[in-house]
């Protein structure tokens, strides 16, 4: 259809027909040139029915959910245990979360995944075994009669290093600890894995990429010997009731946008939904289990979950802001080997060429970045290549810049320098660049 329209417009252009303007406007584009704080919030052209769902999804994404029961019958069901009461609290302007509030308190957009010390004999539909008392994620809030689970504190350590040309740099690492645990001690040996909310950029376009297209780059045993493996995660989809290719979240544990949205609604906000039908209480949390429920079968019923997924799926991706330094930086990016994992482009099933700079595959990122958390095929050291589109806009949209899964990196350069594992040699190549070349590479990343 878009191609057909394009031909139509070209034809009109030659004929000098006066309806050229209005026809051109309807040609679908999946990029926005807006670089304001709304850069991640522009939908593609939608039909009326899609636009209806879109605005519903947006309202559910933004409204504060309230404790059940409430006079606001349409929006109750928060918790009983939860981190935040709106989606947007962790995704300001559809961007990534930040570590600190303006008042310097730890933000809710940093959550803690918890896993049992015993991870053997997992069932086919279990990515990891949850911590027996607190469950799969720590909730820092609870409703009126239900105690929150605990608080998170972070300790920072500085690490000095230097580039090959002698210039010094400082890296930061964060150690997250739990305090004020309200339901007793954590299981001995339980794993604590911090996760900062990811930006919601170009998700619909990534969903349009076919499985075959992603698997083309899979190279689990590094047969081509380039030092880069690349492994697809295979995860259980509660919606489709089968194991599928994972493509979203830090460990590629969500098969699609709806899966990830439902998971976040359940774990971050305590909203039961068709994919995660229970409240997020463990059997050891009496008050949580006995708390008053919402009036309805699900706090977030199917049509609302679908609406949220459509809302996120509809967003345009930001167009890169290309200048001379950007172009030179892109060449350096490729020659260093960054693009081996941060794959430049995909052709989607709708024949769009997109530039997410990710292969959506898992890679070993080394022991320094490892979080100890395994999930389906993703091991403790492995993370999905984070897409880089929108990277240069994130600080503006989020209000601060915290990169990597635990937010430890305060700048793009710091994030590069934390790369390890399969990316060690590429990282070292970056360390050996001349300053002007490093600056061009950063200009490229800032322009995404």
């Amino acid at each position: 259809m878009p191609q057909y329209l394009l031909f139509f417009c070209v034809a009109i252009l030659f004929l000098g027909c006066s309806t050229q303007e209005s026809e051109q406007k309807k040609v679908t584009t999946h990029l926005t040139h807006d670089i304001s704080t709304k850069a991640f919030s522009h939908p593609v052209h939608l039909t009326n029915d899609q636009e209806d769902l879109f605005i519903l999804g947006r309202s559910f994404f933004h409204i504060p959910w309230v404790e059940a029961p409430s006079a606001t019958t349409a929006r109750d069901g928060l918790g009983p245990l939860f981190s935040a009461n709106t989606c947007v609290s962790c995704h300001p302007n559809n961007s990534a979360g930040r570590l600190y509030t303006k008042e310097k308190a730890l933000e809710r957009s940093l959550v803690i995944r918890l896993a049992s010390s015993y991870q053997k004999d997992l069932r086919y539909n279990e990515g990891f075994r949850i911590e027996p008392t607190y469950g799969g994620q720590l909730s820092v809030n609870g409703t009126s009669d239900v105690a929150y689970e605990g608080n998170i504190v972070v300790e920072w350590t500085k690490h000095k290093g230097h580039f090959a040309d002698g210039e010094d740099y400082t890296l930061h690492s964060a150690k997250y600890k739990l305090t004020n645990l309200q339901y007793g001690a954590l299981q001995e040996g339980a794993n604590v894995a911090p996760r900062l909310a990811l930006p919601l950029v170009g998700l619909g376009l990534l969903e349009e990429v076919s499985e075959e297209e992603i698997l083309k780059y899979e190279d689990i045993n590094d047969r081509d010997g380039d030092g880069i493996s690349g492994k697809a995660n295979r995860v259980f989809s509660p919606e489709h009731n089968k194991t599928m290719l994972g493509r979203f979240a830090y460990k590629a544990t969500a098969v699609d946008i709806k899966h990830q949205s439902a998971n976040a609604a359940h774990n971050d906000m305590g909203l039961s939904n068709p994919l995660y039908p229970s409240e997020n209480c463990t059997s050891k949390q009496k008050e949580c289990n006995e708390a008053l429920k919402g009036r309805h079968e699900f706090d977030l019923p199917q049509e609302r979950l679908d609406a949220i997924a459509l809302y996120l799926r509809s967003m345009k991706a930001p167009a890169p802001r290309e200048n001379e330094a950007f172009k030179e930086g892109r060449e350096i990016f490729k020659s260093l080997g960054c693009a081996k994992c941060h794959r430049e482009s995909f052709k989607t099933q709708n024949a769009k060429i997109i530039y997410p700079y990710s292969d959506l595959l898992l890679h070993d990122m080394g022991s320094e970045l490892a979080d100890g958390h395994s999930d389906f095929l993703a091991s403790a050291n492995e993370f999905r290549t984070t897409p880089l589109w929108g990277l240069g806009l994130r600080e503006k949209l989020t209000g601060s810049l915290n990169l990597l899964h635990d937010g430890r990196a305060h700048s793009i350069e710091e994030a590069i320098l934390w790369h390890g594992g399969e990316a060690s040699s590429t990282k070292n190549a970056y360390r050996h660049l001349e300053k002007t070349q490093r600056e061009m590479l950063l200009a490229f990343l800032e322009g995404l």
Binding site: T32, H45, N48, D52, L56, H62, R295, H296
Partner: protein, 460 residues
Amino acid sequence: MQSKKILLGSLAAALALSLGVSGCGSSSSSDDTNDVPTDNSGDSSSNKTTVLRTYATIAEKNYEDALADALALQSAIDAFVADPTEATFSAAKEAWLLSRESYGTTEVFRLSAGPIDAEEGWVLDMYGAPEGQMNAWPLDENMIDYTIDADGNTTSGNIIDTAGTFTPNSGEAVDTTSLTKSTLAALNENGGEANVASGYHAIEFLLWGQDQDYDSFYADTVTNGATTAGERPLTDFTSAANADRRKAYLSAAAELLVEDLQTVTDAWQSESTNCSTGVGCYRAALLGELSGTDTDKNIAPDDALKTIFGGMGRFVKSELANERMAIAVLLPSEEDEHSCFSDNTHRDIETNYRGFVNVIKGEYKGASVGAGFYEYVDADTKAELDTYITSIDSRVAAIDAATETEHFDYQIKSGSSHRQNIVNAKNTMRDLGDAMVDVAANYGISLSEDDVTDPDETQI
């Protein structure tokens, strides 16, 4: 009460019909021909100034009317507060409904960096963007006064029943010992957009109370009927607990509303210009008439038109079609209709839309004011606009007429024979919003669909 509402409804329908008819026929009224310069293109600087002048004149007339009607509302509220009887109560509600007629058409001036809601720069500094204090919506009525929830329980812990310190949800504490306009200003949107304490809709809630039609998207069963609005008892202002606080609240809210409306009306005034007091300053800046130290406030015609065209598109598409109609009809949820306490939403829709048509056509109250934006667009764009306007005219009139048997909160329900009309109306309003891209092109101004779509529409 019932008979008056029906009378008002049919009068309004008749008005809408006559406006609609004159609107359709006036594509090139002979009255205007003398004013039209020989250059008939939008992309000429004199024509740009001409259409901006018409826009400013409509704003001036409309805000003057809105202010006069708000003053009448304030008088009616003062009379009610001094002597609360069924007669004064009813008169106050009548005055509120009338005040919404003239205010509704001013809303097209929003989202255009003007005095009502500029988000930055000297216009914000000078006029303070009072829109949120005047017309914020939707509001959490639980914050203002008691409500009855879906299980029949009376809620408490609100501004009215808290004579001491009140802390809005996720907000900061405010001393509510006495309810004055500064108390309400401090409470409004304190802690979140839904924490509305002032403006038309706060007054509406105090006059009508809840319109308990919980029979919405979710299955609950409290409903008072298809043609019944809120029915707050008079005793809330006489013998009930906190009657005096309710009266004080009403007086303070009316006073604040008039004050804010005065500020905006002054900004558009053409009689004199004073950028120290703000009087006439915005109008003069928009028309590029400021001189001396104020010269740098002048807004270049292309910038002004770009902002206004984008703002109009966002208003009719994102605000009216989406936030005020689509959300309500899609959920469907009475909590998301605009004037949900008084059941006046059909008039909000008509007047908001009429305000848009006014500035497109250079009209006010059915009479020509001057060359509107419509004047210098090509035949294709005109035909496009006419098609949408003709269609929406009849659909909006139909929403209005249907209130005889079903108020808007029942028309949006699935199963209502009137629902599809609302769906079609909002769909065509979206097209009308998108058409501003074409209007802008006629003035040599480049807009995209992104510019006429507000990614940050008011959230419910």
